[in-house]
Symmetry: C2
Subunit: 96 residues, 2 copies
């Protein structure tokens, strides 16, 4: 019984991983769009106040089981990667 149960749970985990990957990439596309709008307005891409607001939203809405601090740490990694992606886009735009 145990092995079948484990296999079934792992299959579900693989599916959730793929959904997560797609959603993280969808988020990245949104951030790229935001970067373009900001760039056209001459606004700086890094906005610590906006990041803080997003982290606060997580604190307000987290139902667990992860602790808010853990989720915020993961999101900070995603923010950092997103900023690097925007900077790549910006560099490419300058080279055009």
């Amino acid at each position: 019984m145990g092995n079948e149960q484990l296999e079934e749970l792992r299959k579900q985990l693989d599916e959730v991983n793929m959904q997560l990957m797609d959603l993280i990439n969808e988020r990245a596309r949104l951030v790229q769009e935001i970067g373009k709008v900001k760039s056209s307005q001459g606004i700086n891409r890094f906005d610590p106040v906006r990041e803080r607001k997003m982290l606060n939203l997580i604190a307000e809405n987290n139902k667990g089981p992860f602790e808010t601090g853990t989720l915020q740490h993961i999101f900070k990694q995603i923010f950092k990667a997103s900023l690097e992606l925007q900077e790549d886009d910006h560099r490419k735009a300058l080279l055009v």
Copy 2:
């Protein structure tokens, strides 16, 4: 025009953030279940081969814009946090 567009994109980003948070927590619940099954079978919770397989699945299915290495880095943070959550559950189980 630009500011409204920015506000709309940010609203979408907030929604994606909340979906991401829910999905990361859903993943954590699955990992907790897997931890319980493994625990009942006396299997070690940390499984580097299984982690490698999950990272390979990301490499095979990533359509961008994030590079595979970036996504794998984010997932490694999620794996690490999940393992810590399983260890917390295990400690609590021992204390019962």
